[in-house]
């Protein structure tokens, strides 16, 4: 099928302001948007810059705004967009460095701020083997272990656009992953960090994050669970 592809372009070494380049392409409806970008970079304009690696939705490199919504470019097919006009822009709320590449530093800083690692200083089992955890305990935090840190959620979040100090959905998802892990002992510290003006309370339950997540994590629900724990003082 014939499509029109509009790509956001900005090269800080040359351009005073951003522009859109437009290409007409003959594509197969089952092609990924990433395939189209590769086609442009490979055969039309080698200077196009974007991040990508695994090309099947597990590494989190290529979160982009495609027709106004956040997707991984490798996980959305042309046919999924139901239109012959495709516009690709960088994700919002992080500084654009070049073309589709944004500065991820603020995003990872928020992630690191919630202590995203297992905290447990108790002695290990005497036999040296695994700590025990029932399948039900494991299931409690299964959904939030799927996060690939692509930033699609955080950069779809209006409160984050309005205030970059907000930790954002991805950081809360990763805090959730440990808060409800029966092996972890750091929940109080994380909840303390999130019980802040720039913590969970900035969430306005817009559900943009949940819609944007390429891993189908129920992010709004995870945030609500953290809020509930803050109110009830219980880790249910």
């Amino acid at each position: 099928m014939q499509i029109q592809l509009k790509i956001f372009r900005y090269n800080p070494e040359q351009d005073r302001k951003a522009r859109f380049d437009v290409y007409s392409l003959d594509v197969d409806p089952t092609e990924r948007v990433l395939d189209l970008l590769e086609e442009i970079k490979g055969f039309h304009d080698g200077s196009l810059a974007f991040r990508r690696s695994c090309a099947h939705g597990v590494c989190g490199s290529d979160a982009m705004r495609i027709n106004g919504r956040n997707y991984l470019a490798c996980k959305v097919l042309v046919r999924d967009l139901n239109t012959s006009e495709i516009t690709v822009e960088p994700i919002l709320g992080l500084p654009v460095i070049k073309d589709l590449i944004v500065d991820m530093t603020p995003f990872f800083d928020h992630y690191k701020a919630v202590l995203p690692y297992l905290i447990n200083d108790e002695p290990l089992p005497a036999d040296g083997k695994e700590r025990l955890q029932s399948p039900e305990e494991r299931e409690r935090f299964d959904d939030t272990t799927k996060c690939i840190l692509c930033a699609a959620c955080t950069t779809a979040c209006p409160p984050f656009w309005a205030n970059g100090r907000y930790v954002g959905p991805a950081a809360i998802v990763n805090a959730h992953r440990f808060i409800y892990d029966s092996r972890d002992r750091g929940a109080d510290r994380r909840l303390g960090i999130l019980n802040d003006r720039d913590g969970v309370w900035r969430c306005r339950t817009v559900f943009n994050c949940t819609e944007a997540c390429p891993r189908d994590i129920k992010i709004t629900q995870a945030i609500a669970e953290v809020k509930r724990s803050l109110v009830s003082g219980k880790l249910e």
Binding site: A49, G57, C59, G60, K98, I101, L132, S134
Partner: protein, 597 residues
């Protein structure tokens, strides 16, 4: 402007092996990790099915059995001392990961869950054994995330999106690396006492591949250019079940959970090729079987693919025929819901890329380039060894897919890539730090940037008659056709001629982007140079090896030939030509014998 840094240990690559090395090296040495990606983008995260370790959580198992299975899987080309070490150490390494917080799936009594995987057997009954420790079908993702989390906790120094271009060697020892900072285009010199190379594989040489765009063999190509050989490069694994055309991996765990392969006539054809373990035979065996079915016209609709069937009625039918039981002895029967809960990511891939539901429809699959058994030669401590006598290059270490210990020999067993990177990543890190504690810094070369500048200038100097993407496409196509699952002398000559033609044409490549900031065009061109070097080395080594062993299947030499070929190849790049040498395989307990499944 150049920036200079000094660390005792520099680790190149932020995947599983690199992060594991960083965790252990940083306990005793000032350590930095350089990665061309953000570490969590690394390809370890794409590993699905599990990490093998004889925990025996669900049934009897022993590291000795894991050792034997790995030796046999390697078609006896693996070094048995290293394999024994890896399989023994795997058990502790998996417990280490659990203690770090890895969310393994669990058994009803709360232990780490385990599932069957290709080539892993109970050595007495010879039936599949549950050895693969898993976290749903995203085990690699959980390993990568857990290690990155621990690195944050331990405040490891990272240089993210730094592309390492060159290894510095002075006085015969490692002296550090040179890297481009992608965000600025600046060159950085990292002076180090010890360097650990953990840059992953090079599956982007082939057209149909499960591998990430980043898998361009940077570490192996960089060391080749510095006079270090590459070992066993003719052995590259083609995983039997990649999504048709896209090559995206469908984990062996789908067959571990009871899925089977069928041809156009609806036959479970693996019965004919591996009567005992059938669809859980080794990957090389199954990939060849699929090719033979296709060649004999039994591909689906006569085309170049077959079906993977994991619909519950099929799984249950064949579980009954096979007499498969659960750990408690009851017959193995599953519901669609149970299957979906074991393979959620596979379900997602099928829906996203094929528009099908795997518990209701058949999955079209074809073999896909997957894993480099060969790479930078090391011993079992991760030390790089540079000749037929295993002479150590002081201060240089390597681990993970880019390294060749060799534990995988001619064919890697499923789950053993993750075993390799946690065990040898750990020991490379420990030994690099120990070495650094007792060594002085080598002096830096007079002009540390010289060779890096030469490489970059050459890419900018071409006349622009050739495009990186076009050369890349032609390389992938000929390598998949002629240096793939089956090989012949004629095909290998065709491939070699083509790759050499592409290398000539590569001199004309011109990078249109003259900028410094995120010049991804320049980096892609540099990566293609790496791939072309590795493609040539692979084809030359494959042409020389006139036998069939593991993943290297020569139609003109269909038998394994232990008398002449029970040896590792070493390939050097010298003045643009490949020179081959060989070194013996370490055989301890297991004498080579015929390999059947």
């Amino acid at each position: 402007m150049t920036q200079n840094h000094q660390f005792e240990v520099v680790i190149v690559g932020g995947g599983g092996a690199g992060l594991m090395a960083a965790m252990y090296a940083s306990r005793g040495a000032k350590t930095a990790v350089l990665s061309k990606l953000y570490p969590t983008r690394s390809h370890t995260g794409a590993a699905q099915g599990g990490v093998g370790a004889a925990l025996g959580n669900l049934e009897e198992d022993h590291p000795e059995w894991h050792t034997y299975d790995t030796v046999k899987g390697s078609d006896y080309l693996g070094d048995q001392d290293a394999i024994e070490f890896m399989c023994q150490e795997a058990v502790q390494a998996v417990y280490d990961l659990e203690h770090m917080g890895l969310p393994f799936s669990r058994t009803p009594d709360g232990r780490i869950a385990q599932r069957p995987f290709g080539g892993h057997t109970n050595n007495i009954t010879q039936k599949p054994v549950r050895r693969s420790c898993y976290a749903a079908d995203r085990t690699g993702h959980m390993i990568l995330q857990t290690l990155y989390q621990q690195c944050i906790k331990n405040q490891i120094t990272f240089y993210d999106e730094f592309q390492v271009i060159d290894l510095m060697i002075e006085n015969g020892a490692a002296a550090g690396v040179v890297a481009v900072e992608l965000a600025t285009g600046e060159l950085h010199v990292f002076h180090a006492k010890a360097v650990v190379i953990a840059t992953g594989g090079h599956g982007r040489v082939w057209e149909i591949t499960s591998n990430a765009y980043a898998y361009t063999g940077d570490g192996v190509a960089m060391t080749l250019r510095r006079g270090i050989p590459a070992e066993d490069m003719e052995f590259f694994q083609f995983h039997p079940t990649g999504i048709i055309k896209l090559g995206i991996l469908i984990t062996e765990a789908v067959r571990g959970e009871g899925g089977i392969l069928v041809n156009d006539k609806g036959e479970r054809f693996m019965e004919r090729y591996a009567p005992r373990v059938k669809d859980l035979a080794s990957r090389d065996v199954i990939s060849r079987a699929i090719y033979l079915e296709i060649r004999e016209g039994r591909g689906i609709k006569g085309q170049r693919y077959v079906h993977l069937d994991v619909r519950p009625e099929t799984v249950n039918k064949f579980a009954e025929i096979d007499g498969r039981t659960r750990p408690d002895g009851t017959p193995y029967r599953v519901t669609a819901q149970e299957i979906l809960s074991k393979i959620p990511d596979i379900t997602d891939f099928c829906q996203t890329y094929l528009g099908i539901d795997p518990v209701e429809q058949l999955i079209p699959i074809q073999p896909t380039a997957h894993y480099a058994m060969g790479g930078i030669p090391t011993d079992k401590y991760g030390r790089v060894v540079v000749d037929e006598n295993n002479t150590v290059l002081p201060g240089l270490y390597s681990a993970g897919e880019c390294a060749c210990v060799s534990v995988h020999g001619a064919n890697r067993l499923g789950t053993n890539s993750l075993v390799d990177l946690i065990v040898f990543g750990k020991y490379a890190g420990i030994h690099a730090a120990e070495f650094a504690a007792g060594a002085a810094f080598q002096p830096l070369p007079a002009d540390p940037l010289d060779y890096t500048r030469q490489q970059i200038d050459r890419l900018r100097a071409g006349d622009g008659a050739e495009k990186v993407a076009q050369l890349s496409k032609e390389m992938k196509s000929v390598m998949f056709d002629d240096v793939g699952v089956f090989r012949t002398e004629q095909g290998l000559h065709t491939a070699l001629d083509k790759v050499r033609e592409l290398k000539d044409r590569f001199c004309h490549v011109n990078v249109s982007d003259q900028g410094k900031i995120f010049n991804m065009e320049l980096m892609s061109a540099w990566e293609l140079g790496n791939l072309l070097d590795l493609a040539e080395v692979t084809a030359v080594a494959a042409l020389a090896r006139t036998e069939s062993r593991g993943a290297h299947a020569r139609e003109d030499y269909p038998q394994r030939d232990d008398a002449n070929w029970l040896k590792h190849s070493l390939a050097w790049l010298e003045d643009g030509a490949v020179r081959l040498g060989y070194k013996p395989v370490t055989v301890t307990k297991y004498e080579p014998k015929e390999r059947t499944y």
